[in-house]
C-alpha cells in the first residue's frame, strides 16, 4: 500500500479567515453564543429524551428542526452570494470546502460520534448548554470528550483518512 498524505485538516469551525479579532467582535461572538445556548434549550435539542425520540423515529420534531435549519442556512448562503454581500470587515464571504480524500475519516469518525451522540444524548454544543442548564455531571462528559480529542490527536498519524 502506498503511503497517503494526510489532507490538511480543518476542524469543525476552525476554517475560514484566520486574522486577529478585535475585542469588540469577541463581544458579538459571546452574544451570538448566548443566543445559541437559549435556542438549544428552548428547542430542547439538548435533551437526551429528544435524541432518543429521534433515533426511535417516534416524532418528526428533530427531523423538522435539523431539516429546516439546513434549508435556512442554505437559502441564506444563496442569498448572500446572489446579493454579493461581504462580511463586516469588507472581505468576500469565504466558502471553504473540506477535502473528500477516500472518505474514510467521515464515515468512521461520523459513526463513532453517532454512538457517542446516542449514549450521552448530546453533541458538543448541547454538552455545554446542559452544564448551563444545571446538569453539572456533563462537566465530566466534557473532560472525557477532551480525552477523546487528545486520543485522536495521538492516533491520527496511524488512522486511515
Amino acid at each position: 500500500m502506498t503511503e497517503t498524505l494526510l489532507p490538511e485538516f480543518d476542524g469543525c469551525g476552525s476554517s475560514g479567515a484566520d486574522q486577529q479579532i478585535r475585542p469588540a467582535f469577541l463581544l458579538v461572538y459571546l452574544l451570538l453564543g448566548v443566543a445559541f445556548g437559549i435556542v438549544l434549550t428552548r428547542s430542547e435539542v439538548l435533551s437526551w429524551f429528544r435524541i432518543q425520540e429521534m433515533f426511535h423515529f417516534q416524532s418528526f420534531r428533530m427531523y423538522g428542526i435539523i431539516g429546516s435549519a439546513i434549508a435556512t442556512a442554505a437559502a441564506s448562503r444563496a442569498l448572500i452570494k446572489a446579493v454579493g454581500l461581504n462580511s463586516v470587515d469588507g472581505k468576500p464571504i469565504a466558502t471553504p470546502r473540506r477535502p473528500l480524500g477516500n472518505g474514510i475519516q467521515y464515515a468512521a469518525g461520523g459513526t463513532i460520534f453517532g454512538v457517542g451522540w446516542a449514549l450521552t444524548g448530546a453533541c458538543p454544543g448541547p454538552l455545554f448548554a446542559l452544564i448551563g442548564n444545571g446538569v453539572s455531571v456533563m462537566i465530566v462528559a466534557v473532560f472525557s470528550a477532551l480525552a477523546g480529542t487528545w486520543a485522536y490527536g495521538w492516533l491520527r498519524p496511524r488512522l486511515p483518512h
Binding site: G11, G110, I112, F113, G121, A122
Partner: protein, 188 residues
Amino acid sequence: MTVWFFSEWPWYVAGPLIGLFVPALLLVGNKSFGISGNLRHLCSAILPGRLEFFRYDWKRTGLWNLVFLAGVLIGGFLASRFGAPHAINISSATVATLSHIGIHDFSGVAPHELFTWHALLSLRGFISVVAGGFLVGFGTQYAGGCTSGHAISGLANFELPSLIAVLGFFAGGLAATYLILPFVIGGL
C-alpha cells in the same frame, strides 16, 4: 409572548433560528459555524504535548469560537433560569419505549437514572457520561465536525464529506440506540 419565552418552541421556529447562525457568523467575521473545533482548541491550549494536531495558534484560529462556546453555556443557564421548569414533552410512544428498557424518571432534561453525580458511580451512568463523552470527542475530531459543522453548516454548503459524516452519525446513533442502550440501561 410569554409562551414563546418560557416554553418549548415548535420545530418550525427552532430550526430556522438554528440555521441563521450560519449566515450570522459568516457576515460577522467569515467564520464557519461549528462547535467541535473548540475541543481541539481546548486541547491545544491546555495540553498540546508534542502532537502535531494541537500545535497551532489556537488564540488566532479559535478564540472567537471559544468565546461563542462560553456564550452557549451562559445561554443555557439563562434559558433554564427564566423558563418554567417542565418535563420534556416527548411522544407517548417514546415514554413507553424508554420505560420498557428501564427509564422511569421523565422529569428532567436528561434522565436522572443516568446523568447525575450519583449515577456516575453506576456502570450505566459511567458508560453514558464517560464512554459517551469520549466517543463524542474522538468521533467529531476524526470526522472533522459535529452536528453543527457537518449536518447544518456542511450540508447547507452541499459538501459530500458532510453527507457521508451525517450518514455515519445516524448509523452510529441507531446502532447504539437499538444494540447498546437497552443493555446499558436495563442490564447494568
